[in-house]
Every structure is written in structure tokens, then in C-alpha cells.
């Protein structure tokens, strides 16, 4: 068989490979060793989003990936450009998001010489990538790019990094793009073991107190529909983790909300009293389980996950099923009979009624409760994509927004990266221009990447940043209040930044709201403007996220922290 080949440089081959992988958008920042690649990008049919800091490129690519399910792509130059990507790569690795990250590198002849802007980025990112490559010969570039997209997007997804020495980008090759990958050490399991599935189905049929605990795997395997069908068929209530939020409709009667540290009381009670816990694409994170020994200690556990290494990593499980969540849920749907959960569902309904999520609602003319803002955004724009930074506002968003479909909640789960939300919201808005995209932010988090206001204005990406401005690094302050006698060490940031003027300085729309009655109009004005907008919501400064499981406690030892005036 003859291969169709064409002569071209490594840089040109890079572009050709991206075309073949269907890449339409790339987030990046140029630099010396990337000049040949940027020269090709100049008239390539790929939208390049020039960010103002490389960290925003990698978070932007992740936001794009999470909003679409496609693989996100970003690029940065060697040395500091590459090291500025590290946080975002670690973030994508922790949350299993498909990404291909390109970095420039000094010419091969200088590698290892401590050359100008040299950093060993493959070495640095080895523990935070699914795989990485240093390209040593441009002839290997097409195969490597093909492999990288394959590895990133299959099995348990994750980031793959490709380091491109400058000489590789100018080397001339006979371009040939392989149509298959050949990786003998990589063969993810998609189809779950039928015997295990039938055993699981039998357990479900006998269960009296079943609970489904679904995580980010449900989103990445596009298994939301199957999850809903299974829950309805077997009559089991569903709790979704932070990264699983949106995988099950919040307003569904079987929904329990989020489990764990800032979950609902009734989700935690249900898990603790369950006799069968069905974990789907979730990894028993410490923020979910609390004290491990006491977690669901009376339950038999079915664990569905595509990554065999997650099975019995934290919690010993009774029936592991390794494979794709969607495929396995389809089979379970076929074999499982309804559980014996009538009384259980009555108990849960009672818990829901007696222990709802709640806060003291503000009166007309009062100051702003942060939870109220989330409720208002949810009402004003039910199908918005909600992206968050990390902290109290993130928890309120997860607790109070009424998500109704997958890929509408984009948040840094595992790594907890402040500064993630704004750049990720740029990626999400570019991927889904039809949707209103909010970045729910704190005044602390937003300042970690506020320079991207330049990007959204220049590229005309009308995201709405809703700053919950309480003048504190609120989540840390909350812990200081509870566990360090209100000694607010280094958490007060009442540094009088005028976020409205900041937005205006960049050419974005700035709105300020200080009273409850100004919340809804501010949201509506921002949506109607169609412009990149910053809303500075001045909120009550010592509001706590409630309820809360103290670190190290069992999850049913969950406390109300409501602040009464």
C-alpha cells in the first residue's frame, strides 16, 4: 500500500495534524522558539485565542473541553511559558479532562545545556499528565500528535503534553498522517464484565436503601440519560459530586444534591444509612467521604469506573465493574429490577423536608446574601453555563443553582485552583456562544487572572463575571472563624479595588450591586448587554458555607453554620 505523502516543515505538519483532529480553536501565547509555528498559525483556519498569561491558555482549553466534550488544545513557549501551564495541566489531570498541550522547546542541540528559556517540561509534568512526549524527529510528529489525541480522549481522559524543540518545527518531512494508533501498552476497557453487571443487578433488586453516587465520569462518558433512566427504573435516589453536577437534574424528585463536606444533610444521611451504594464514575475523594472508616459502613458497594486503579483505592468495594459508565448503565438498565425502596424514599422525603439547604433570606433593601445571587441567576437564566473559581462562592453555586443538563457546571474539583474560573469561562463561551456563561468568582480568585479582561474584550467573548465581593479569602476565613478563634491571619483583602473601574479600564462593562434589590437588575443588564461584563456584588462579608462536615468527621456529623443577625 502506498502512503500519500507531501513535503512540508514540522510547523506546517503541526497545523495539518490539528486539521485532521478537527481542532477549530487553540489557546496560546507565542515566544521565541514558537516563531515557525506562529508563522503557520497566522493564516491557518484555526481560531487562535491570544491570552494574557499562559495559565489562562491552559484553563481556557479546559473550559472549552468541559463545555463540549472535545479535546482542548493550548500552546505556550519554552521555559516560563511552559512552566506557567503547570497548574492548569495538574487541574485537568485531577479532573480527568481531555487536553493536548503543546510547548515550545529550545533546539535539540541545546537541550540539557541550561539554554535561554529552557525548562525540562516533560520531566516537570510527568506526574500530572496522562502521558507526554519530547519530539526528537519531525518525522515522528504526526504519529505523536495522533497518539496524543487518542490517549487524551479515550479511557479515563486526561492531559497529554507534546514538547516541540525548535529545530523539529523547521525540519522538512514527508507528511503522512496515520489513521490508526498502535499502542501495545494502552488498551482501555469499555465493556464491563457481564457477570459483574448481573451480580450488581441482582443486588439492586434486593436493596432496601439504595443510593446512586455519581461523579464526573457520568459527564465524560455522556451517561446522564442512562443515569436518569436507571435511577427512575430502580427507584434509587441520586447524589452527584461537585464534578458530576449537571449529570442529574437538580429538580428531579430523586435528586439528593451534593454529598460530603458542603453537601446536603439528606445526601449524607442517605449515604450513611444506605445498604447499597452504587458509585458511577466517582473516586471516593476525601471531600466526599469524610472519615473513611465511617463512610457508608453498612452498605455493599458497587463501583463502576473506567480506571481500574480507582477500584478499592480509598474504599473497599464489593462489586467492581471496570468500563465505560454509559455502556455499563445501559446493561444495568436492562438487567436490574426495581429495588425495594418504598419506605426508604419516604424517609428521604422526610429528611429533605426537615433538613433543607437554607440561609436567612435578605429582606427588601437589605444587603446581599451570596446564596441569593445564585438563586437569582438560576431563575433569570436556567440554561446558563456556570463556571466557578474556588472557594465559598463555588460551594454556593453547587448548592443553589438548579442545573438541568450535563456540561453546564465547570469547576475546579480535585485541584481546587483559584483563578481557574475566568479563563475557563472564556473557553466555555467560545465553545458554546449560544449560551450565557457566568464565571462565579470571589474577589480573591478573580484577581488571580483578572488580566484576561483584555482577552475577552479583544476577542469579543461576552462572559459575565459575577464577583462575590466579601473582602475576604472567604473559605479560609471561614475555617479561621471555626477552628482558629477568628484570628483572620492574611485573609482580609479589603483592599478597595474598584472592580467596576477595572472592568471599564479594559473596555468591559462594569456593574455594581450592593443591595438585594439591585441583584436581579444587574444580572439582567449584564445578559442584555451582550458584552463582557463584571458585576461587583458586594455581599455580606462573614457569611459561611453551610452545612459543613468538619475535617476528619463522619459525613453524617454535619453542622449548620447559619449566621443569624
Amino acid at each position: 500500500m502506498t502512503k500519500a505523502t507531501e513535503k512540508m516543515t514540522g510547523a506546517r505538519a503541526f497545523i495539518e495534524c490539528l486539521y485532521r483532529e478537527g481542532v477549530d480553536t487553540i489557546f496560546g501565547y507565542p515566544g521565541g522558539v514558537l516563531l515557525p509555528i506562529y508563522d503557520e498559525l497566522y493564516d491557518a483556519d484555526i481560531r487562535h485565542i491570544l491570552v494574557r498569561h499562559e495559565q489562562a491558555a491552559v484553563h481556557g482549553a479546559e473550559g472549552y473541553a468541559r463545555a463540549t466534550g472535545k479535546t482542548g488544545v493550548c500552546i505556550a513557549t519554552s521555559g516560563p511559558g511552559a512552566t506557567n501551564l503547570v497548574t492548569g495541566i495538574a487541574n485537568a489531570y485531577m479532573d480527568s479532562i481531555p487536553m493536548v498541550v503543546f510547548t515550545g522547546q529550545v533546539p535539540s542541540s541545546l537541550l540539557g545545556n541550561d539554554a535561554f528559556q529552557e525548562a525540562n517540561i516533560t520531566g516537570i509534568t510527568m506526574p500530572i499528565t496522562k502521558h507526554n512526549y519530547l519530539v526528537q524527529d519531525a518525522n515522528e510528529l504526526p504519529r505523536i500528535i495522533k497518539e496524543a489525541f487518542h490517549i487524551a480522549s479515550t479511557g479515563r481522559p486526561g492531559p497529554v503534553l507534546i514538547d516541540l524543540p525548535k529545530d523539529v518545527t523547521v525540519q522538512e518531512i514527508d507528511f503522512y498522517y496515520p489513521d490508526k494508533v498502535n499502542l501495545r501498552g494502552y488498551n482501555p476497557t469499555y465493556h464491563g464484565n457481564m457477570q459483574q453487571i448481573k451480580k450488581a443487578a441482582a443486588l439492586i433488586g434486593k436493596a432496601k436503601n439504595p443510593v446512586i453516587y455519581a461523579g464526573g465520569g457520568v459527564i465524560s462518558s455522556d451517561a446522564s440519560k442512562e443515569l436518569i433512566e436507571l435511577a427512575e427504573k430502580v427507584k434509587a435516589p441520586v447524589t452527584t459530586t461537585l464534578t458530576g453536577m449537571g449529570g442529574f437534574p437538580v429538580e428531579h424528585e430523586l435528586f439528593l444534591g451534593m454529598p460530603g463536606m458542603h453537601g446536603t444533610k439528606y445526601a449524607n444521611y442517605a449515604i450513611q444509612e444506605s445498604d447499597l451504594l452504587i458509585a458511577v464514575g466517582a473516586r471516593f475523594d476525601d471531600r466526599v467521604t469524610g472519615k473513611l472508616k465511617a463512610f457508608a459502613s453498612d452498605a455493599e458497594i458497587i463501583h463502576i469506573d473506567i480506571d481500574p486503579a480507582e477500584i478499592s483505592k480509598n474504599v473497599k468495594v464489593d462489586i467492581p465493574i471496570v468500563g465505560d459508565a454509559k455502556w455499563i448503565l445501559q446493561k444495568l438498565l436492562k438487567y436490574a429490577d426495581p429495588s425495594q425502596s418504598e419506605k426508604w424514599l419516604d424517609r428521604i422525603a422526610h429528611w429533605k423536608k426537615t433538613n433543607p439547604l437554607h440561609y436567612v433570606p435578605p429582606g427588601t433593601g437589605d444587603g446581599i446574601k451570596p446564596q441569593y445571587i445564585i438563586e437569582q441567576i438560576s431563575e433569570a437564566c436556567k440554561d446558563a453555563i456556570i463556571v466557578t473559581e474556588v472557594g465559598q462562592h463555588q460551594m454556593w453555586a453547587a448548592q443553589y443553582f438548579k442545573f438541568s443538563e450535563p456540561r453546564t457546571f465547570i469547576t475546579s474539583g480535585g485541584l481546587g485552583t483559584m483563578g481557574y474560573g475566568f479563563p475557563a469561562s472564556i473557553g466555555a463561551k467560545i465553545a458554546r456562544p449560544d449560551r450565557v456563561v457566568f464565571d462565579i468568582a470571589g474577589d480573591g480568585s478573580f484577581q488571580m487572572n483578572s488580566q484576561e479582561l483584555a482577552t475577552v474584550v479583544k476577542e469579543d467573548v461576552p462572559v459575565i463575571v459575577a464577583i462575590f465581593n466579601n473582602g475576604y479569602l472567604g473559605m479560609v476565613r471561614q475555617w479561621q472563624e471555626l477552628f482558629h478563634n477568628r484570628r483572620y491571619s492574611a485573609t482580609c483583602i479589603q483592599d478597595s479595588v474598584d472592580f467596576v473601574k477595572l472592568a471599564e479600564a479594559y473596555g468591559a462593562l462594569g456593574i455594581r450591586a450592593t443591595k438585594r434589590d439591585e441583584v436581579r437588575p444587574a444580572i439582567e443588564q449584564a445578559i442584555a448587554s451582550g458584552r463582557p461584563t463584571v458585576i461587583d456584588f458586594v455581599v455580606e462579608c462573614e457569611e459561611n458555607v453551610s452545612p459543613m462536615v468538619p475535617a476528619g468527621a463522619a459525613i453524617n456529623e454535619i453542622l449548620d453554620l447559619e449566621r443569624k443577625e
Binding site: 506526574p127 502521558h131 519530547l134 501498552g185 494502552y186 486503579a309 478499592s312
Partner: protein
């Protein structure tokens, strides 16, 4: 409890770093690690001796399998595998004790591969216990330097019944 793992990997740069990095990051203890090419030049074989209970072994195996460059991981149980280690031991010796040391070497089927006026170098191959034993016996003479390769192991052939 100690386990011996045979790990077939791609013969590519950086593979050793990936494997060693995974062990250190996840907090697993390596007793020894050897690596060398196989009959297939595209593959290398590592023999890793790791300490831990069955749960640790299960996690180590799964985490190794997650590495793209790892092709296959086999747990070599001592009853159905052969294991060898090689050691070079430089021991103090002079005319007064040379023959005594040579006798010890002889008993262990070790070889003398260097003789100088004040020392000898002994090469010994065997399982770990044998190497520990000869080391014990040579210690009274004064061991100047010693190097051990770490364990290599292969599964035994199928026993016909």
C-alpha cells in the same frame, strides 16, 4: 511482605523515570529495581522488588499498568519463578588468609575475579539468601566494597503432569 514484579516496558527514553516517579509519588517502597533490554530490542524488562501487603501490590500493579509505556506487569510468586542476583565483593586478604577465603568462595560456587596483594574481588551469583550468607562469612575479613545488582527473575516453564 515482599513481591517481585516483572514489568515489560517500551524501550524508550524516560521510561525508567516514569516508573520510578510513580513509585515515589504514590509512596511505595522499592527494595530493588533492575532494568535491561530483552530479546526484542523495542522492549525492556524491569524486575522490581516492592514491599507491601496485597492491597499495596494491587495498587502498584494497577498504577504501573496505567503508564502508557508499560506493556505488561506480572507478579512473580517465588514458588513458580527463578530468581538470581549477582554481587561483587572486595574483601581484605593477604597471604595469611587467601586460601581460607578461596575455600569459602568455593563452597558458594563463587569466583575470584581479581587478586591483589591486599584484597580480592569475589563474584557470586544466587538467590538473595545465598548472597547474604557469603557476605556474613566474608565480613570478619573486612569487606572493603560491595555491589549487588538487585534481583532479576523469570517465571519457570510449565511443569508437565
Amino acid at each position: 511482605m515482599r513481591h517481585t514484579l516483572a514489568v515489560l516496558v517500551e524501550n524508550k527514553y524516560g521510561v525508567l523515570t516514569r516508573v520510578a516517579g510513580m513509585f515515589s509519588r504514590r509512596g511505595y517502597n522499592i527494595d530493588s529495581l533492575t532494568v535491561g533490554v530483552t530479546d526484542d530490542p523495542t522492549m525492556s524488562r524491569m524486575t522490581i522488588v516492592v514491599r507491601g501487603d496485597d492491597e499495596v501490590l494491587e495498587q502498584v500493579t494497577k498504577q504501573l499498568n496505567k503508564l502508557i509505556d508499560v506493556i505488561r506487569v506480572t507478579d512473580l510468586k517465588s514458588e513458580d519463578s527463578v530468581e538470581r542476583e549477582l554481587a561483587l565483593i572486595k574483601v581484605n586478604s593477604d597471604v595469611t588468609n587467601r586460601s581460607e577465603i578461596m575455600q569459602i568462595a568455593d563452597i558458594f560456587r563463587a569466583r575470584i575475579i581479581d587478586v591483589a596483594s591486599k584484597s580480592m574481588v569475589i563474584e557470586v551469583t544466587g538467590d538473595e539468601g545465598k548472597i547474604n550468607a557469603i557476605e556474613q562469612l566474608l565480613r570478619p575479613f573486612g569487606i572493603k566494597e560491595m555491589v549487588r545488582t538487585g534481583k532479576v527473575a523469570l517465571k519457570r516453564g510449565q511443569k508437565s503432569s
